[in-house]
């Protein structure tokens, strides 16, 4: 687990704690996964600059990890921190829903 998160961690160094720790589960490079990842990156850059960490987990490579976070749907975005855990499934195309779902107050 540790190894994985290090390997696929976002742009920030691993040790640092972030306000938002996000994990995106995908299964291979499907269009939906790619769309989800790019959408997520876009929103994060826009609203949470330097406060977030994104972990991408490919279940085709690590199928055993699906059980831990109770993953059913692909793609699934899991907000590990701050608690409580929230999950957003789908390609994250609806920005409003994603931001509300992640409890991010957009700057108006």
């Amino acid at each position: 687990m540790e190894k994985v998160s290090k390997a696929i961690a976002g742009k920030a160094p691993a040790n640092k704690t972030y306000k938002y720790e996000l994990r995106l589960y995908i299964a291979g490079n499907t269009p939906k996964s790619i769309a989800a990842l790019s959408n997520l990156k876009k929103y994060c850059e826009e609203h949470l600059k330097d406060q977030y960490k994104i972990e991408v987990i490919d279940l085709l490579v690590h199928p055993q990890l699906a059980e831990g976070d109770q993953i059913l749907a692909i793609p699934t975005l899991v907000r590990k921190v701050p608690v409580p855990i929230r999950k957003i499934i789908g390609d994250l195309s609806n920005e409003e829903k994603v931001l509300v779902g992640l409890n991010i107050r957009p700057v108006k």
Partner: protein, 576 residues
């Protein structure tokens, strides 16, 4: 796999089946669930779906050495472990041994938000990973409909489910999918639409405060199967589906005979008794000695070293043993020797099906030659007459297939013999003994006759049935001028007959004497007549003799006369 099936089954290729390991189900489905295909099990809450599917997995792992995956959408793994521990299954150990993998899928609507397109690849990957990790041949998804509660996008869900079932088939695993019963459809979400190979419906009905679980195979593509509703049971050994192989009536029959324990009754049955493996009904009103007949039958069987189980629905074993001691039947020693087993239960203790299962379990465990049910009438308190009948049919089927002789006792409620009561089993049984009261002359006696006895010559007579300190016996009833006499009337009549006998023989003796005397009188008369005759003859003889004498004398005289004067005639002739 393909080569294997081709080798074993001749053309045309039959649908390969996987034994479920659930008692009775494989018989109804003639082999089990379709191998490599999904089976839908639906039913209302509490109908036993989870246990059913879990037993499929556990039996697969323990009996057939086929690992399984149990994907639980409702209960957590440790909860499941605890639930089945009461049935004697050690799910924890099976998981440790990598024979079973339990994967709990938790869906919490409150923590899930949906935006845009998604698919259920996560579930597929999880399931695929679980299957691969133990090499599973069996998969259970319990209850996949929970997905509908957690996810909003029905269109995606339905498409994904269709894909899932196709994927399961591709994987070649035998799967069970459970579904909650919906209104007007088999499942709430119409899963039967996707899983169309085999659908099993479980039901749980309560009538008269007694519950019955029922199972029905709604469809089974490519296979024959029993179509009825079969009762099933969940007890400490898991699920048992009944009935037990009663799709056909083709069991072996024996022409061996076994004694009823009452020699006079055996005589009524062509001198040999009942057929081995037959079913015997003893019916009668209260207090006519049905239990005594049954105990006598059991006693005789045990004396022959046959094994016997006595199911009592009215009395406790101790009561029966004590009561039978009074008529000289010692059941205690048979119990001590292990030949007789007594099993008492109030009918209301549990439903009919439970009774049937407990009876059958006992029989399978103990393998008796003779089974006694005393009385079956009481079972009506827990079911309707037709239910009792169907239960007894199945019991008789089972017993006959096992070559077990069974004796039922039944209480007739009215004194008028009703040929069609007795829980309707009278047409099923091979022999029917009827014991009835004969009330006459200020006392009550028992009469017994054979209503029927298939396949043997039997007496049509009513016999008086008597219970003595030494046991049971039958007497010919006395058919006097006043009709059938029993009890003391019969005894009196027999006494009177005996008296008459003495008187008659005395009269005969006297007549003999008179004839003797007459004969001697006649003899005397004959003698005197003879004498008379003799004297008459003498007289006659005398006359004859006198005549003769006179004749002789006269001849003599005339001769002498002729000699004295020489004949003139001759001198005359000379002178000429």
């Amino acid at each position: 796999m393909a080569r294997l099936t081709r080798k074993t089954s001749p053309t045309p290729q039959l649908l390969p089946k996987t034994s479920s390991g659930i008692a009775g189900l494989d018989e109804i489905t003639s082999g089990g669930l379709p191998t490599g295909r999904p089976t839908l099990i639906c039913g209302a809450a509490g109908s036993g779906k989870t246990l059913f599917s879990l037993e499929f997995i556990i039996r697969g792992a323990t009996v057939y050495n086929e690992p399984g995956v149990f994907m639980a959408f409702e209960e957590k793994a440790d909860e499941l472990e605890m639930n089945v521990a009461s049935l004697g299954f050690d799910l924890h150990k099976l998981q440790k041994d990598k024979m079973v993998k339990v994967d709990h899928v938790h869906i919490d609507r409150s923590e899930i938000e949906e935006t845009g397109e998604y698919d259920l690849d996560g579930l597929f990957i999880r399931l695929g990973y679980a299957i691969d990790s133990v090499g599973a041949k069996r998969v259970v998804l319990d209850t996949i409909e929970n997905l509908f509660a957690g996810l909003d996008n029905q269109a995606i869900l339905r498409a994904e489910l269709r894909r899932l079932f196709g994927w399961l088939k591709e994987k070649g695993v035998t799967a069970i999918i459970t579904g909650e019963k919906g209104e007007g459809s088999l499942t709430r979400q119409g899963l039967e639409e996707y899983v169309s190979d085999c659908v099993i419906l479980l039901d749980h009905r309560v009538s008269n405060q007694i519950s019955t679980r029922l199972l029905r195979i709604v469809k089974y593509r490519g296979s024959v199967h029993g179509t009825n509703e079969y009762p099933f049971l969940i007890d400490e050994e898991g699920i048992s589906v009944l009935p037990i192989t009663s799709l056909q009536l083709d069991y072996e029959v024996s022409s061996d005979r076994i004694s009823s324990g009452i020699p006079a009754l055996d005589n009524m049955l062509g001198g040999k008794g009942f057929f081995k493996g037959s079913s015997i009904l003893v019916s009668g009103t209260a207090g006519t000695g049905k239990t005594s007949i049954a105990a006598c039958f059991a006693n005789e069987a045990c004396l022959r070293k046959d094994r016997c189980i006595y199911f009592a629905f009215e009395e406790s074993p101790q009561q029966i043993i004590r009561n039978m001691q009074s008529i000289g039947i010692d059941l205690r020693t048979h119990i001590d020797k292990g030949l007789l087993r007594m099993h008492s239960a109030r009918p209301t203790l549990y439903g009919l099906e439970m009774h049937l299962v407990s009876i059958i379990k006992q029989i399978r465990k103990y393998k008796p030659n003779i089974v006694i049910l005393d009385p079956i009438t009481n079972l009506v308190t827990v079911g309707t007459v037709s239910e009792v009948k169907s239960m007894l049919i199945r019991l008789i089927d089972f017993l006959q297939a096992e070559q077990v002789t069974v004796m039922f006792t039944a209480l007739s409620l009215n004194t008028i013999v009703n040929e069609q009561t007795d829980e309707g089993v009278s047409s099923l049984v091979d022999a029917w003994l009827l014991v009835r009261d004969i009330e006459f002359n200020g006392e009550r006696n028992r009469g017994m006759y054979l209503m029927k006895s298939r396949g043997m010559r039997h007496s049509n007579q009513v016999r008086e049935f008597i219970i003595t300190d030494e046991g049971l016996d039958l007497m010919d009833v006395y058919l006097g001028d006043e009709g059938v006499l029993t009890g003391s009337a019969r005894e009196r009549m027999q006494l009177m007959e005996a008296t008459g006998e003495v008187l008659r023989s005395y009269a005969v003796e006297r007549k003999d004497l008179a004839i003797k005397r007459k004969r001697s009188v006649v003899d005397a008369k004959i003698a005197s007549l003879q004498e008379d005759f003799e004297s008459v003859r003498d007289e006659l003889n005398k006359t004859y003799i006198e005549e003769d004498l006179r004749k002789q004398v006269m001849e003599k005289n005339s001769k002498q006369m002729a000699e004295k004067q020489p004949s003139k005639n001759s001198s005359n002739g000379k002178s000429k």
